[in-house]
Amino acid sequence: MTFPATPRNVILIATLLSLLLGLVVLVSLTMGAVHLPLSAVWRALASRGGDSEAAVIVLQIRLPRILLAILVGAALSVAGTALQALLRNPLADPYVLGISSGAAVGAIFALWIGGRIAAASPLAAFAGAMITMVWVYLLGRSGGRLASYTLILAGVITASFLSAIILFMLALLSTRDVRGIAFWLMGDLSETPMAELRILAPAIILAIAGMYVLAKDLNVLLLGAEEAAHLGVNVVRVELGVYVLASFLTGIAVSTSGAIGYLGLLVPHLGRMLVGNDHRMLLPTAALGGAILLVLSDTLARTALAPSELPVGAVTAVAGAPVFIYLLRKTAG
């Protein structure tokens, strides 16, 4: 299905998906380890406070998780879409360039040092991700621009090296810290308080908006670097911009919620099946679609084996792999 990317269509799709997202959020707020009827949820949302346990559960446990799922789902999907365009590779996902391994190294390093730094492990993880971004850029550029071939190789090498470092550090950490890290590595949306969300939300929204500004250029970039340059696109600047924004989005997502896989890989493809290849339509679709899918996965993770919780990364993988196989068979013919 291909819609021409007129502003009217873009707004239409964005509105439809936003409504769907709102519905999914409302349904997810009612589901959880403790059964709360819809009326209790409404009351808690309307009164915006109070001490009843329904209010605490809805506003302080479920709502931050759902909001974080929206932000992280959108961030990872947009990063995945952008990287697939930048690298001209349908298998690219946000982690292929080593960002998530860099964030994991940062988080484990903070735990190793311990003390106050350990408490700020999301910041340390983000620092790790940004350092990896710079490193992979320096390693992967050739002739002044980010050639997709060398960039992918640089990213993959860095990712494997960092994974080895992670294993090394895990062997040296005490058991208690390893347990904490295991949760982080599997994806965990539950540890971000509302206060942190107030900083995250503008950052992610701004980065996605920045990516949207580059959407038209992303379309042309898909033709190839030389062709894009002939068509007047400032290839070096656009590639750098897309790379930095995608890494930033991935870094933020991974530092706060661990490595949630398959989202950045699948959602762009699903979006393309829905609205076609034009990034002006695809980016909002991927962002909102990723948000919806992650909220649904998180709700499933919370409720499938209540009161135990599945790690979110496991749910996206278990749900994502069959979808991916189906897509693969469909496109292979």
């Binding site: 380890a33 446990i61 058991t175 347990r179 904490g180 949760f183 539950s190 540890e191 009161p307 919780e309």
Partner: protein
């Protein structure tokens, strides 16, 4: 509206100024620049209780009831308009609500060094680890326990309590729904993140930990103090200490066998010398192998194990521990160990893994295993 609010602070600030100074000169200069809305004061003076903040007003106007002239150096005007008084009271109440914790709570350090805002009389407890559940029941507080984990299986009544999930990942929603006064956890089983999240939701978390036998007794006594049953805790600890002393005296002169406690066999993981399991082995009259091993769960290679040559090999109970004791005789390297050759391989009960009142049961069981002749 803004003027009224401004007046409060001026009243407070200038009264403070006035109280501090005791000479006319400093009075005047101290108040320079803090007062400028003369019109306001004029209008408020008319026919009402008035806040006299300027010394000029204080000297000029004879306010009704509250203004005083104290001694020679001090002049203080302290009449308040009624609304201002109400507002000050509201501020004071507000501050006290913000600054004071809920009535009768205290900040205390728990056994892990965290500061916890303990309620004075907790009577709804959630236990996040099986050994804590055992301690709570042993202290006679089983009725105050409103929730425990899926793994809490002793005493049998604990299995019928509402469950909040696993130790590593309990369900915050379930815990909040139980409305506990206090949650009890241990860093050996629970994550720090869980404790932080519960604190953020307004549920204090008291951490319990012990790495020696002595420490476990002290931790039980401490928990008794926190939960308000110090006497019962002292009695329980005294009983446990008596049993420990009896074991120590009985096997005092006996030879001390070298003991290997197998946590997992491939790779071989054993307990470090500073864990409570090693301490229980020592108290039972054994020597845990590898006194210079580092960490809580050190890994041993076969070539490190062979020279250590343990006399007794202990296995914890585990449904997933698939190889039978017999299979070990055939394993390379293992079959040359003295413990395997003499057949001194035993599976111990789970009491040794619970840092609680039943640790003494484990001690007695171990002592019986390590010194089989004198029983």
């Amino acid at each position: 509206m803004a003027n009224k609010g401004f007046s409060i602070f001026r009243v407070l600030k200038t009264n403070w100024f006035l109280a501090q100074t005791n000479s006319k000169r400093t009075q005047k200069s101290g108040l320079k620049g803090t007062l400028n809305a003369k019109t306001n004061w004029n209008s408020r003076v008319q026919g009402r209780w008035v806040a006299h903040t300027s010394p000029r007003f204080c000297r000029d106007v004879r306010a009704p009831l509250n203004s005083e002239q104290l001694g020679e150096g001090m002049r203080r005007c302290t009449s308040f308009a009624f609304e201002d008084a109400l507002r000050i009271c509201a501020l004071a109440v507000g501050f006290s609500i913000v600054l004071c914790a809920p009535a009768s709570a205290r900040m205390m350090k728990d056994q892990t060094g965290r500061m916890v805002n303990l309620p004075e009389n907790p009577h709804r407890l959630v236990s996040l680890a099986p050994n804590i559940t055992e301690i709570v029941y042993a202290l006679g507080l089983g009725d105050e326990l409103v929730g425990d984990t899926d793994n809490c299986d002793y005493p049998p009544q604990a299995t019928s309590k509402p469950h909040v999930g696993t130790m590593v990942n309990p369900s915050l929603e379930r815990i909040v729904a139980l409305k506990p006064d206090l949650a009890l956890g241990t860093p050996e089983a629970n994550r720090r993140e869980t404790a932080d999240q519960l604190e953020r939701l307004g549920i204090p978390v008291y951490g319990v930990t012990a790495s020696t036998l002595e420490g476990s007794l002290a931790s039980i006594e401490d928990l008794g103090k926190v939960l308000g049953c110090e006497a019962e805790a002292k009695r329980l600890v005294a009983r446990m200490q008596a049993r420990i002393d009896r074991i120590e005296n009985r096997f005092k002169g006996e030879p001390q066998p070298k003991v290997l406690f197998v946590v997992w066999y491939r790779p071989l993981i054993t307990v470090g010398p500073h864990t409570f399991i090693a301490d229980v082995i020592r108290a039972a009259g054994g020597v845990p192998i590898g006194e210079n091993l580092k960490g809580e769960w050190p890994r041993l290679t076969l070539e490190e194990l062979l020279p250590l040559n343990p006399d007794v090999i202990l296995f914890p109970p585990s449904d997933s521990f698939s190889p039978s004791l017999e299979d070990f005789r055939g394993l390379p390297g293992w079959k040359d160990l003295r413990g395997v050759k003499e057949g001194r391989m035993y599976m111990v009960s789970e009491t040794i893994l619970r840092v609680g009142p039943r640790l003494v049961d484990a001690l007695e069981e171990l002592a019986g295993i390590l010194h089989p002749v004198r029983k």
